[in-house]
Symmetry: D2
Subunit: 277 residues, 4 copies
Amino acid sequence: MSQYILKIDCSDEKGLIYRIADVIAKNDLNIEKNHEFVDQENQKFFFRARLIGNIDTVALKSQLAEVLPSDANIYLGARRAKNIVLMATKESHCLGDILLKNYSGELFANIQAVISNHDVLRELSEKFEIPYFYVSAENLERRAHEEKVLTILSEFNPDLIVLAKYMRILSSDFVKHYENRIINIHHSFLPAFIGANPYKQAYQRGVKIIGATAHFVNDNLDEGPIIAQDVIHVNHEYDWRAMQRAGRNVEKVVLSNALDLALEDRIFIYGNRTIIF
Amino acid sequence: MSQYILKIDCSDEKGLIYRIADVIAKNDLNIEKNHEFVDQENQKFFFRARLIGNIDTVALKSQLAEVLPSDANIYLGARRAKNIVLMATKESHCLGDILLKNYSGELFANIQAVISNHDVLRELSEKFEIPYFYVSAENLERRAHEEKVLTILSEFNPDLIVLAKYMRILSSDFVKHYENRIINIHHSFLPAFIGANPYKQAYQRGVKIIGATAHFVNDNLDEGPIIAQDVIHVNHEYDWRAMQRAGRNVEKVVLSNALDLALEDRIFIYGNRTIIF
Amino acid sequence: MSQYILKIDCSDEKGLIYRIADVIAKNDLNIEKNHEFVDQENQKFFFRARLIGNIDTVALKSQLAEVLPSDANIYLGARRAKNIVLMATKESHCLGDILLKNYSGELFANIQAVISNHDVLRELSEKFEIPYFYVSAENLERRAHEEKVLTILSEFNPDLIVLAKYMRILSSDFVKHYENRIINIHHSFLPAFIGANPYKQAYQRGVKIIGATAHFVNDNLDEGPIIAQDVIHVNHEYDWRAMQRAGRNVEKVVLSNALDLALEDRIFIYGNRTIIF
Amino acid sequence: MSQYILKIDCSDEKGLIYRIADVIAKNDLNIEKNHEFVDQENQKFFFRARLIGNIDTVALKSQLAEVLPSDANIYLGARRAKNIVLMATKESHCLGDILLKNYSGELFANIQAVISNHDVLRELSEKFEIPYFYVSAENLERRAHEEKVLTILSEFNPDLIVLAKYMRILSSDFVKHYENRIINIHHSFLPAFIGANPYKQAYQRGVKIIGATAHFVNDNLDEGPIIAQDVIHVNHEYDWRAMQRAGRNVEKVVLSNALDLALEDRIFIYGNRTIIF
């Protein structure tokens, strides 16, 4: 018996659950988990199920397509550890946290490589036996640097790219290669403090909370669909460096939670928003 | 077109969703919201849907009973404002918060009465035109006092009784009259600090968080199924009275949230736990 | 024996605590609470103490001025309930919460009046015997409307004005009359979602947290010094109206907490930030 | 110029701040940070300051002792990285988090060794070049096992012992050797769920929050003075293993925060409570 993940989004119509459940029942599959959401305003239907049984995924997909509206997106695949590549710059807390979780068997993923624009995190990555690719950006235009990174990525063709404090902005061209497959951690509760040094901005604005946001990367910097956010309380005793120190715990936990959701195919990207089951 | 709430719990079997969806589809009903949960360990299935259409609830219920396991509990009713009676003692923050929400039209309920073992909150209740019943416990045994309260309650036969800081313990006999229909707010993050004066206990234990718990009342004091909990952080500057003051905000918000869930029939009681959709 | 609040801010110098403690000791006063903070970056010193004893405040102030740097701001006064005027528009949750806390003796303040640009909240205010002033803005320019409000305010000369969901923007001129004495509740975690309908903005941005911010009002809309902030988690099931409903609890609690801090003179305004003891 | 930490607790008397500040001023020291708290109920005074300058600590201590009540505890020492020994069993998340923070230079400490009753975490510890001592408890009575551990500890004489998920109960005798110097992380929001498998207990009780508590270890299991606590929200979809997984993030963050406080000498143990500046 195998586990499968089924994800469907389409226009909402009467009887969708019935039609899906009918197909699943006829294939003698068991539904282990099942979530559904309808955006009433836009009449849009979202469905995710974890199925158990033995199936021909191609056949099942086409049976589903027959009974669903023509605009349906159907994802169906065996539940499996995804391949991921981590990208980072100099800070070790997010990268290290993911490497550690992976090392202790808590990450449902296969880390293929770490790519960095600095050589700082090589030792840490190699401690955990993850290949490290240092791609210096010095004396390179953005395009040239990104091409070098893309070349390495193409060797691995990862399911997901995780920006674990990768401090360079990615171009639209780069993002297009891995659309909806790049997750970033931004060190503020977006949409506050877009751009450089959010903690300095937060300190200057005098906020009483700081936070972190994990999101998919799209064309517009820091404006991709949000997956997870959290905050902690600060007070006047925190200068921006103290905020940065305290913020690291939020950053790594938020990224870790978002990554778990993505690795289990629990996220739908829906315009600028996410539906998470 | 009317709205209905359908709640089902039963042993889990293959195809339950299909069978339910089939009945709903054949009755030409639209599912507006739909949640499902299976407790894998105990093979128990929970389902709640908000339906839109025009139905004969008795007929629909019997159609569902036919296709569901014999241990199925099926609740089906028009979505409507529930009748509630509030019970309180002397503290006004929870009672006042509910009266205020009701006054501003934010509570999906009909408050029938306030019952108290003191006369302190009469003025407040009557400001909001809610009948107030003062049932002194002085010189009365528990049984005798509770019978007086039960007599008043029987006039109203409320869907729910809300203990908004009612500081007397209810006997098993009392509770049996309104099984699974009494909601209490306890001023600690249960199971910590069961019993009298949780804030004093919390202060003496030196905790760094205090909280509140809304739960259904069953036979065992403070041990009923939990609906909602929340906490706030405290520090050494809080003596127990400061904790009590700060705790009031948590108490009223937690009770308010739990009440909203109950008023929308979003809660299943499942042994000592709750499933909340 | 009386209680006094002493607040000092000045350039930091060696021995400030010693000098202040010396003056206090010589006046035979007891320090009940005492907080201090030095902004190292800007060499700025902040001090607040609650004193017990019997003093000539004018004399004590001048003794302190003698030993402190020439840029020192010294506030010294008997601890007393402040006079406040509440301003609101149509929503009752923040106003009602404050009226209720005041009614039950939990607010260390004297509410002098409610002023509104609508007549909606009159009944609620008068239930709690607070004079209600309806100043319609219809057919009036901002200046003319504000002058009417200022005329009413000048009768009361409140220590603090609390904007409990007052949905009109105040002009610089208005603000200048009550500089650093106006507290507003904004229904987002500032600086996110400045301006109109933050919940709609939050929904459109797809955030996973919503929040509220209490701040002093200065010239720039939603940019005054922040006193308190908090957030709650939301998910894809929240449309903007559900966010608004859920947000009300955060709004009222954050405003209530900020107001308590202001009523106890625990806040220093320091540029765009606050120091809170 | 050096940094020093001064901590004082004693009976409260009038003029204590003045006397302390006087001694500090006469020694030409600058106070960089300064916190004070008086427990009014028990008339107990707590004071901590970070001093900058050049001092003879023995002389300064005796000058302070002269002006303070006879029951005063005075701690004065150069601010320095403390020596710590980590103890763990099989779970890697807390240990790994501390090793990682230390590796990246974020921990103000010198990790001398890891001691474990299993050999599971050796590889991880040695990746980070920390000596690992495996002391099997098999076929040993508690006393005999603890003596072996104490022998290793005595070689290092650490300032602090950190139980990073060390799953054996320490005897009173063991604890006496390192009184007020052992920090433990308990995987529940104490005092709830004392004892074995808190997550199973939490699941069975049906709580809606789970949490973690960092505390000093004293004679009574899980009853030592609490340093830090935090919680996360859970729902019916969490079985106890899911709670355990989710709880790991809280555990490691709470322990990390508590450890930082201890490493900066910011904690006073006061009976069963802590005062934290």
